[in-house]
Amino acid sequence: MNGSSPLLDVQEVSLTFKNVAALSRVTCRVDKGSITSLIGPNGAGKTSMLNCISGRYTPTKGKISMDGRELTGVPAHKRTGFGLARTFQNIALFRGLSVLDNLMVGRHSRLGYGLLASILYLGKARREETRHRRRVEEIIDFLNLSPYRHTIAGHLPYGVQKKVELGRALAAEPQLLLLDEPMAGMNLEETEDMARSILDINEEWGVTVFLVEHDMGVVMDISDHVIVLDFGRVLASGTPQAVQTNPKVVSAYLGDEDGLYKGR
């Protein structure tokens, strides 16, 4: 740890589904301003962890706090107010909306007007729409999405959809961005592009990134800190170099000589 304050603090979180433990007593932290990655073999509980943080699952035990404020028990739709945004492993775009509207939905909680203002679409609603549109256009420019601005999201190629999803999360102007396998299914060029975007988001915009990813090359390249999960437990945690040479991590990924069931 480099001594800076944790933005996200996960304390002893356990999650069980009908006696099957998805996570058991996970403790980890994400430092403010860092890119922290969560890795682990399939079924290790990475996405479950993200779902606990974003509010889809409620941990059976333990607590999660962000910037000193307790997150556990807060409904998912209120967590954007804490500065939290996420993307999904499988593309979870609003397929029927244009790219622009997808990003505008991303800003949903930042727009303040009510249903009646929506119906009348006068003064306040109109001003807010224009103001937030300006901000959304900046994100569109940043991610090079301008050619697709008015294209229906469902009609876009896969790699672009992944970017739109990143854009939608960014539109909320989060402090902490949870990315669930943003490089999955992408070719080398798209992967590099995405990695570059993530670094820019982190460095230029000062957004803390919590990344779940299988592409080890990317993870080791861009992360400040890596957490390894296996069977719902934290196996190791540290700098990319330290984690890579950790014998427990090596055996979790490659298996060890004595077979699968040895004391894990």
């Binding site: 029927g96 505008m104 609603a125």
Partner: protein, 349 residues
């Protein structure tokens, strides 16, 4: 030499977000409205009565499209919500409330009832929600029939034609202008919702409710708002209906009405405001067209009408199936394609 722009170029976001973005669009709308205003003077009162029914159906269809097409919440009880508004407005009107208050009151009652029946939408999706709204339809029909002290039961409920500031809308042509104005307001309201924060949130719920939740949309609150707003407009349609027909009975707001609203939005185009208008016109005109066909064939083959008349329901069903197969996105898509074709004409590349 003067140069003309070969397309629409905006210099402000506000201009691009406008409802009618080109002078041509404004001109078309102006001409359309002028034609609508002149129409009652040009056609007979039967044709005006059909127009009135179309306009009322437009409100019903556009409100169902808000709920089902945009927000993705299937409803098989929309006809009953129209009925709640029809009875609500009629009862208020008979109790001495002025027409506008009765109309809004009917809408408000319908909105409340719609929100109550929308509560299961938190847990139920798709076909399961459809069944629970079917329950709403059956329960409300039962209430219309058996709360006879309020609704007149099977005998029905008479209503006086609407009066605003002493002016009675007592002929088809007079009430046409009133219905046209209310319909225009309702269509404008839904259009505005569809292009702003709430409409986007509705579509987000339809397309991917989990990510909608993660961007900060309170699913339950927004589903209830969709049910509330949709039922409010349905109630307004009902209020116009009862004041226009001047007599309502429970069987007018049966399952069949709910199905025909669904047919309107399927044929018109799910989630499309203009599609709802096309769909409402199409479904309302369909029986008229069949009648016309029968009567024009009457001279040639008089026996034919005996065969075709009972087939009306079948034709209705057949149209629906054909649309689902050949144009699942409805008349709204046809309209889009036609516009795109003429935009490029005669250079279609």
């Amino acid at each position: 030499m003067s140069m003309h722009k070969c397309g629409l170029f905006y210099t402000t976001y506000a201009a691009e977000d406008g409802l009618f973005r080109s002078r041509f669009q404004k001109l078309c709308l102006g001409l359309f409205l002028a034609a609508m205003l002149a129409l009652p003077q040009l056609v007979d009162s039967y044709a005006v009565s059909i127009l009135n029914l179309i306009l009322i159906a437009v409100i019903g269809a556009v409100s169902l499209n808000l709920l089902t097409g945009m927000c993705g919440q299937m409803s098989l009880g929309h006809g009953a919500f129209v009925g709640v508004g029809a009875y609500g407005a009629a009862i208020l009107s008979n109790a001495g409330a002025p027409f506008v208050a009765a109309l809004l009151g009917g809408g408000a009652i319908s909105a409340m009832v719609g929100m109550v029946f929308g509560i299961p939408s938190l847990r139920l999706k798709g076909i399961y929600l459809a069944i629970s709204t079917l329950a709403a339809q059956l329960i409300l029909e039962y209430v219309f029939l058996h709360a006879s002290s309020l609704t007149g039961g099977a005998n029905g409920l008479p209503v006086d034609p609407p009066q605003i500031l002493g002016f009675a809308f007592d002929t088809d042509a007079r009430i046409f202008y009133l219905i046209l104005a209310v319909t225009a307001l309702c269509v404008l309201a839904v259009t505005n919702v569809s292009r702003t924060r709430h409409g986007r949130a509705f579509v987000a719920i339809r397309d991917y409710h989990q990510s909608a939740e993660n961007v900060g949309v309170n699913l339950f609150a927004y589903k209830l708002q969709a049910f509330g707003l949709s039922s409010f407009l349905a109630g307004v349609a009902g209020g116009l209906w009862s004041h226009y027909t001047m007599y309502i009975t429970p069987e007018q707001f049966s399952m069949g009405l709910s199905i025909s609203y669904l047919a309107m939005i399927i044929i018109g185009g799910m989630g499309s405001v203009i599609g709802s208008i096309f769909g409402a016109a199409f479904i309302t005109l369909l029986p008229e067209m069949l009648n016309l066909l029968i009567s024009s064939l009457g001279g040639i083959a008089p026996d034919l009408s005996a065969v075709i008349v009972p087939m009306k329901e079948g034709v209705f069903g057949l149209m629906l199936v054909l649309f689902l197969i050949f144009e699942p996105e409805g008349l709204a898509r046809k309209w889009r394609l036609t516009k795109a074709y003429w935009k490029l004409y005669p250079f279609a590349y």
